[in-house]
Subunit: 356 residues, 2 copies
């Protein structure tokens, strides 16, 4: 078991060794640790090695000039200068919040960025100032549109955070596929099959084999098949892709650059880097903040009081599982599986620091 | 077969007879006909009788004062004065567009409204002025949260319209359930079963019986079951509900008033009427409009060129099926099934007009 502080300091030091400023390295470490604490380990320490390899391959810029390239009273477009995604994303969400302070809402599209960790982190930044936060990002193409066998689109997540008064905030943070890519990777490592409805083979036939992605298969959009509404999942992923990439001038759909160094840089570019989209809405642009938050308490309490099916203790509110994980992990510490520890030891050694 | 003009004039006259102004009646008829033309007949002429019955029961206001009750540079809250939903929704989207002209984006939450027809209609209003349009609404509670047997939430649709240059616009308009309520009603009328994944019985067991909604059953969120991501569908419906109702001060979740007169007014109210949410984003708040629209052409052409699975001719772009239906229905006319015709004849007779 590791403490929060040990992993935070290690992560910060890794990125400082790679040339990031202390300011940026702290932001990056904060997002990595948020993923671990909230039980989204697929976006946590397991990815340090990916960033390190991208940096070694000179595919990521650790000394960036993140700049606003276009704006209106309630909007901005940010160019991330190929920085580590967390740095671009944090700056973008800060800009959205600043815009919202004056215009009621703020909306920022970011281009020329990279993988930014968990989307929920940025959406939740808005909560501190009584705002609603929204965060979208596109991602490597692994998902086929309905009735297609081409990998055109990512698992493109949506995060929305809404503050309440006495109740904890409502925080939704989910991929627009039935399951996150990371969970398929876990099944693959364990040699397990997965339920039908997640994957298809290269001919578009349903598959339960997580290795199928290595032989021309693809992930399916939320809904799974047409009968169960996969055209709606396809709509959602597409909207996230367009907001993240077309609004900002980033690469869209099949042209999103790989977030790992072992996949080659794509030949064709239709924009700059990976794209994200951020929104901040001041509560009191709609309702007096206390009225709104009291009403959110009532919303949350109403949904908590829904009758559970037999065998379930309760009905959950989006954000409950992650918040409970955070409490548990803060108390018990963070567990890393041996393979991840080995990766971190190796990265540390190459950078002249230590991980144990 | 009926012509567009015949049904438009009839619908307009029905609402004028009920006391709506000619201006409002034209808006209402326009939305009804848009539903018919786009093959969303479940939101078309079949619903005239519902509005008429609500009016007879004095549950809807045909002479409303729709007013802005709160605003910031980029936001507004509108009170619909219990008007026909189309009147509130059109005014709200116009306000969002006006806000966007000055602030870059405009966001309007509406309360004290009623059923407004198809969400896509309002999202598409933004296209005329080179804006992206967004429309959400809550709806009667028919859907159970994940792991619950309580009907807490509606089929809460999401509509997003994005303009392109030479290509037709991207228009997504979908319920956050695997299937729309209207399609279950059709299966029920035909005495047919439906696929598993849409419904559960009163104990939370999977059901293929569309009549189950009459005996304590409920619809399932997009994703169907937890394994296939129904927690994501639940998140989506919840977000739509909160944006539509908590932002505006309307009734949320289980308290959304019925859109039909044969269901009683609910005892408990947590706000006013039904709620909607509208967004308009000026393209050039992010990118020069022509650059953006040319990039959207490229996005659409890229996705159209995805390889179809065997047995399918092509991969569709959101909005394709409805646009093609519109072309076909404009040419061939609109067909109404005998039961709907009978309803319209009866409504017409009571109002002293004619339908044949």
């Amino acid at each position: 078991m590791y403490t929060y502080n040990y992993l935070f300091d290690f992560t910060k030091n890794v990125f400082m060794k790679m040339g990031c400023s202390e300011h940026d390295s702290k932001i990056i470490a904060d997002v990595f640790l948020a993923a671990e604490m909230r039980d989204h380990a697929s976006h946590g320490m397991i990815r340090i090695k990916d960033y390190y390899e991208l940096w070694k391959a000179r595919r990521i810029n650790t000394d960036p000039q993140v700049t606003i390239v276009h704006e209106s009273p309630s909007t901005a477009v940010i160019d991330g200068d190929n920085a580590v995604g967390m740095v671009v994303a944090r700056r973008s969400m800060e800009t959205a919040i600043e815009k919202a302070k004056k215009a009621g809402t703020g909306w920022v599209a970011a281009r020329n960025s990279n993988h930014f960790g968990i989307a929920g982190y940025y959406a939740m930044m808005a909560l501190e100032t009584d705002m609603i936060g929204i965060c979208l990002t596109n991602a490597n193409p692994l998902v086929a549109p309905v009735f297609s066998i081409s990998r055109m689109i990512g698992t493109n997540p949506i995060a929305v955070a809404i503050p309440a008064m006495k109740q904890p905030p409502f925080v939704a943070d989910f991929a627009t596929t039935p399951i996150a890519r990371g969970k398929l990777a876990v099944a693959e490592k364990k040699g397990e099959k997965v339920p039908f409805g997640y994957l298809q083979d290269k001919n578009g036939l349903p598959s339960d084999d997580p290795t199928i992605l290595k032989s021309g298969g693809s992930m399916l959009p939320l809904g799974g098949d047409r009968v169960h509404g996969s055209h709606k999942g396809y709509c959602l992923s597409s909207i996230v892709d367009i907001f993240s990439a077309v609004f900002s001038g980033a690469n869209f759909g099949p042209f999103v650059p790989p977030s790992v160094a072992y996949l080659p840089v794509l030949d064709k570019k239709v924009g700059k880097g990976t794209g994200h989209f951020f929104g901040a809405m001041r509560i009191d642009a709609f309702q007096p903040a206390n009225e709104f938050k009291t009403k959110m308490d009532e919303w949350i309490e109403t949904f908590r009081s829904a009758k559970p099916v037999k065998g379930q203790e309760r009905v959950m509110i989006p954000g409950d599982p992650e918040r409970e994980a955070e409490e548990r992990n803060r108390k018990d510490g963070i567990k890393l599986v041996p393979a991840i520890k080995d990766d971190l030891v190796a990265v540390a050694k190459e950078l002249g620091i230590e991980f144990k």
